[in-house]
């Protein structure tokens, strides 16, 4: 259904692009919950670009599940830039030759202008006293997470727990897998997606802890009220990246390389970083991070590259068919 709407919006874009007054039009294919970030960012860039070059630039947004978006781009959705929440989705485009192989080096910080962290959301007063990953395997504690194999959010949770178990005294892969087995036993369900997990936890009141992005916690506060829950930062968690890349084939064809590059670079500007922080995404710029330090308590994080040797390797070892996730369910 989402794929379909992507095509329809692409079709509509194609129909109206000619009639637009803009000097250039960019299409940004983005992940599902990025709406707010880019809704605020696009006008900032338009203003900046107008002041700098006098050009009117129009920016279209296309949102959908990260993997679906990438497949749409591979199938011909003419996006100038992709702004995703998983590196392996952009790797897929690199394999297809739409994005350059060394895309992570084209922009600073591994081509990820802002980050987030996986955190625990617990009920008000933290009745089960949940402090760290080890508390989640206690009998009778229920965790709410999206499907670890099918959703980025679920995969991040899985890898965070794995990395934590690995870093415990005497930790190794076998012990980590055992820990994950116990952890997943405490999941009464796997939600269809990140927002579905949130609804299940907050509205349907299922489970004792929801594991999600730090940025999602603020969405929950807006929706359900701040006093309804508490955020718990585990002793180690994943720093999630939001990689961006230029779709080489499209910008060459449309002649929008300059504008598209400037658009992505602007994410690292003061304005871009401020905007990320205001949307509760951790800015890369140290000064901005300090300014918004009340949003972002210090937390010990790891990156997928450090622990798993890259997004593709992590995916292959854990989420491909026959990977560690499948093994957990086969040993039963």
């Amino acid at each position: 259904m989402k794929n379909f709407s992507v095509y329809v919006s692409a079709l509509l874009l194609g129909m109206f692009a000619g009639s637009a007054l803009a000097d250039a039009t960019l299409l940004n294919a983005s992940y599902d919950v990025a709406r707010d970030v880019y809704k605020d960012f696009n006008p900032l860039f338009q203003k900046h670009w107008k002041a700098k070059t006098g050009e009117n630039i129009e920016i279209k947004q296309s949102h959908g599940g990260s993997t679906k978006q990438v497949r749409a781009v591979a199938d011909g959705l003419e996006a100038d830039v992709v702004t995703m929440n998983q590196a392996n989705d952009i790797e897929f485009l690199a394999d297809k030759g739409l994005v350059t192989k060394d895309w992570t080096k084209k922009f600073p910080n591994n081509a990820s202008p802002y980050t987030s962290a996986m955190v625990f959301i617990v009920r008000k007063g933290n009745p089960k006293g949940i402090k760290d990953w080890s508390d989640l395997i206690a009998p009778g504690t229920q965790i709410i997470i999206p499907h670890p194999k099918n959703t980025g959010n679920g995969r991040n949770t899985y890898l965070s727990a794995w990395a934590w178990a690995l870093r415990q005294p005497g930790g190794n892969d076998a012990k980590a897998q055992e820990f994950l087995g116990k952890l997943l036993k405490n999941a009464p369900l796997f939600a269809a997606g990140g927002r579905d997990a949130t609804t299940t936890f907050m509205q349907r009141r299922m489970g004792d802890v929801l594991i999600t992005f730090e940025s999602e916690a603020e969405m929950i506060a807006k929706e359900f009220g701040k006093g309804e829950f508490e955020v718990v930062y585990p002793s180690l968690t994943m720093q999630t990246e939001f990689p961006v890349a230029l779709v080489e084939k499209v910008v060459d064809k449309k002649g929008t390389r300059t504008q598209a590059t400037a658009y992505l670079e602007y994410l690292w500007s003061k304005e871009g970083q401020e905007n990320a922080a205001q949307n509760y995404l951790r800015p890369r710029d140290a000064e901005t991070l300090k300014k918004y330090s009340s949003f972002f308590p210090p937390v010990k994080t790891f990156t997928v590259d450090e622990v798993f040797g890259g997004a593709n390797k992590a995916f292959a070892a854990h989420f491909k068919d026959g990977g560690s996730f499948d093994q957990i369910y086969q040993s039963k």
């Binding site: 993997t67 897929f92 099918n150 369900l189 579905d196 299940t200 009141r205 491909k320 499948d326 369910y329």
Partner: protein, 284 residues
């Protein structure tokens, strides 16, 4: 008969080819990149097998539930005038129009432990949301119109005089139903059942929100297909799809044969009026 058979047949063939055969052909062509044994390996994995069981089992149950209650709904809607009948009639089509994801989220909220229904049935030990039972509930909701809408015109065709004739000839109410009415609507009931069943097998949107999606317990085949696509494993997804298609085709074919057989038997039998006489004859 109106002329133009050639043109109409040509149009039919082109239309069906473009709409159905072309995509199906593409699917099978893609799957043929894998060997037959590989396709079987993928389909016979522990998780795939469990998913096939859940999908076909839940679809069968949902279609069966609708065959029973859908028949009652259709009967009431055709035979009895009552206030708000048009409203109820329109209600039946709602599952057609509602986006399936909305249906799934609504049902999950309704049947969750603190939902309007869930709070009453969970203390009784009946868990619906996030269990295989939830899948059956979602599929029953989605497929209701198929049975009702298939049966309605057929029931309309049975004149009430037939019932009167059976009664006047001494048939009991049960005999009238079992030997006069039911044989007449049974082929349509099978069609409705088959449509509902086929629709349920392919359903994804509503199920994933209420199923719980636990491996080996409440994963459906379409979810595994999406899971393969998430891995950019198009071939694996295609293999599962082809196996699902083949199984559905065999089952639908069986239902069609059964339907053809019952319809034929009925045709060779006797008109309804005679059946009415016979039904009563049995008692006299």
């Amino acid at each position: 008969m109106l002329p133009g058979f050639g043109l109409a047949l040509g149009y039919t063939l082109v239309y069906l080819s473009l709409l159905i055969l072309l995509p199906l052909g593409g699917l099978i062509l893609k799957a043929s990149e894998l060997g037959f044994s590989q396709i079987i390996d993928i389909a016979l994995g522990e998780r795939s097998l469990a998913a096939f069981r859940v999908t076909f089992g839940a679809s069968f149950l949902a279609a069966a539930v609708n065959a029973f209650f859908g028949l009652i709904v259709a009967w009431i809607l055709v035979r009895y005038p009552f206030p708000g009948k048009r409203f109820v009639d329109a209600l039946v089509d709602l599952p057609f129009a509602l986006p399936t994801a909305v249906a799934g989220i609504t049902l999950a909220t309704l049947y969750a432990g603190n939902g309007w229904l869930g709070r009453f049935i969970e203390p009784l030990g009946i868990k619906v949301a996030y269990t295989p039972l939830g899948i059956v509930v979602a599929l029953t909701f989605i497929t209701l119109p198929f049975v009702v809408r298939t049966l309605q015109p057929v029931i309309e065709d049975i004149e009430t005089e037939v019932e009167e004739a059976a009664a006047s000839l001494g048939a009991s109410r049960w005999q009238t139903f079992a030997r006069v009415i039911f044989p007449a609507i049974f082929p349509a009931l099978l069609t409705g059942f088959a449509l509902a069943f086929a629709r349920a097998i392919g359903e994804y949107g509503s199920v994933i929100f209420i199923a719980g999606n636990l491996p080996l317990i409440s994963e459906i085949v379409p979810l595994l297909i999406i899971s393969k696509l998430e891995q950019y494993d198009v071939l694996g997804a295609t293999a599962l799809a082809v196996v699902m298609l083949a199984l559905s085709f065999i089952l639908l074919l069986a239902v069609n044969l059964l339907q053809w057989w019952t319809a034929n038997r009925h045709k060779n039998d006797e008109p309804l009026e005679v059946a009415a006489g016979k039904a009563s004859g049995a008692t006299t």
